[in-house]
């Protein structure tokens, strides 16, 4: 499974944990729209650090960088870990 598919699966689980069964696309805003909170952002950050080897102290952290699958895709590409 590539990184983006893993992230998509992970986000599905997080949303389900919040009783959010609404569909989401790759461009759907998750944090700025309030569907996920900063508490969930922490889990996502750890996930991206562990699975995609992203070092946020290097790339700089901003919630908009993980706001959607598209944004995460850009982040992964920028960090040079895209498969």
């Amino acid at each position: 499974m590539d990184h983006i598919a893993e992230v998509r699966q992970f986000l599905k689980q997080v949303l389900a944990g919040r009783d959010d069964r609404q569909p989401f696309t790759d461009s759907t805003s998750l944090f700025l729209s309030g569907r996920l909170s900063s508490v969930d952002a922490v889990d996502l950050v750890v996930f991206l650090e562990e699975r995609c080897a992203i070092d946020f102290t290097e790339v700089g952290f901003d919630q908009s960088k993980i706001d959607s699958i598209d944004a995460i895709r850009l982040l992964i590409c920028a960090a040079g870990v895209s498969r």
Binding site: G17, D19, S27, T28, S29, L32, S33, G34, S37, S38, V39, V42, V45, V46, E49, F56, T57, G60, F61, D62, S64, D67
Partner: protein
Amino acid sequence: MNVYVPPISLESTPWGAERVRQFRIIPRLEAYPAVVSFAQTVAGKLVLLTLFGAGMTYFVKDWLVLSLCLALITFIPSRRRLLVTISTLIFTFAVPWRSFPLKSYTVSMIVLCIALGGMFFWSAVRFPRSWYGRRPVFVLLSSYSVLILAASSVPQDWTLWGPLWLFVHFFSIYVWFIAYSLLDHNAADRDPFKFQLGSYLPFWGSTTTPFAKGAAYLRRIEAKDGKQLAITQLKAVKLLSWALLLFWFGHWFDYCIYQYLRIPPFQTALALSVQRTPLPWYVCWASLIAGFFGGIISLCVTGHSIIAGCRMAGFNALRNTYRPLSSRTVAEFFNRYYFYFKELLVDFFFYPFFLRYFKKNRKVRLVAAIFAAACFGNAFFHFGRDLIFIERLGLIGALVNYQVYLFYCVVLATGISISQLRHRNPAPAGFIRGQLLPSALVVFFFCLLDVFGSTERNYPLSEHFRFLSHLFNLNL
């Protein structure tokens, strides 16, 4: 940002149980395509602006100026950010002009604060790889701390004591707004300072906690076309209506509790406990619970009216308070109760700590970052905000006086840490075990914590513990 709202057709509105489930006190106006279309017309915009202005008469003295600013922004959306800055400047200088005690003096202090903010921002943008450019927020907050230290060590009979403290007071109002600008300095699409300025005590209102964060957040939540603007403004009118309902409910609540039932306010109950003439324990509980719920209503009214103004200007900001009583964990309540303050703590204390330290041990990393935010950050914010205590008592005296709130911060951080560390199982099925019981426990925790949080810093920690024990009918 997506502003997708599932449409509701008037013909397809469900009946029966489903209709009851979907019932809203204030209907989801933004979900009706016909209403959204109307809100995009000139007549629709005028109707929304008129409704909004009428609602704002309850919350803002200068509602007419506010409405005119919003009308300009509504009809010239291509210049929205610039108009926000101009409106903010109008509300910073022109609107409160008559209330300024020493006009030129006050204006020069505000200009100095804004100029300093501009200098901090410009330096961070100009020298991003310098020692300062890599940690501008740290430098800003350290400078602020040094300024407070310096002001508190100056003797009161010094000629410049008054102007110095006045400047510190004004700077304390602006410091977190400037800090949000500095967070934006590295962004590829960062706003120039003229737009950053629009988020410094914005014209729709704010506390010292920046309401809706800074320019970077505004840029991302801004309505991009006429339809998004219409939806955002409809949500603004809805939120203001909700604020009005809560405002009236708050009046009724206060009347019932404090006049009809004659339950004393929490501060009175605490003062009587200090004087060794405590009220019966059940009256103390009533006083504490009433104060807790009254505080939530009051925060909702303030936050909703401010965010409604922000939305009316075309920014789809999240509510400051959103269904806090439905929270099933301590961390969730903290997130839902005062969203923008929590965001401030997360942005300036939690993430910087979490991303740098204790990376090898996930639990230690999480707890340390929570303490950096909910304990240190929270204490730092309030200590710097309530400068009057430092001015009156001196730095050491103010620190001693701060013991109760420090204790509050430690317990809050501990509560959030435990809440975050607990294994997150799926919520049990059923309303009572899945929702009611966990929510009641969370409310109970925060209610008890309010014994230490609702402090006017008049009494030592031991007196608050005495009150706490009295709640359980234990008289120390």
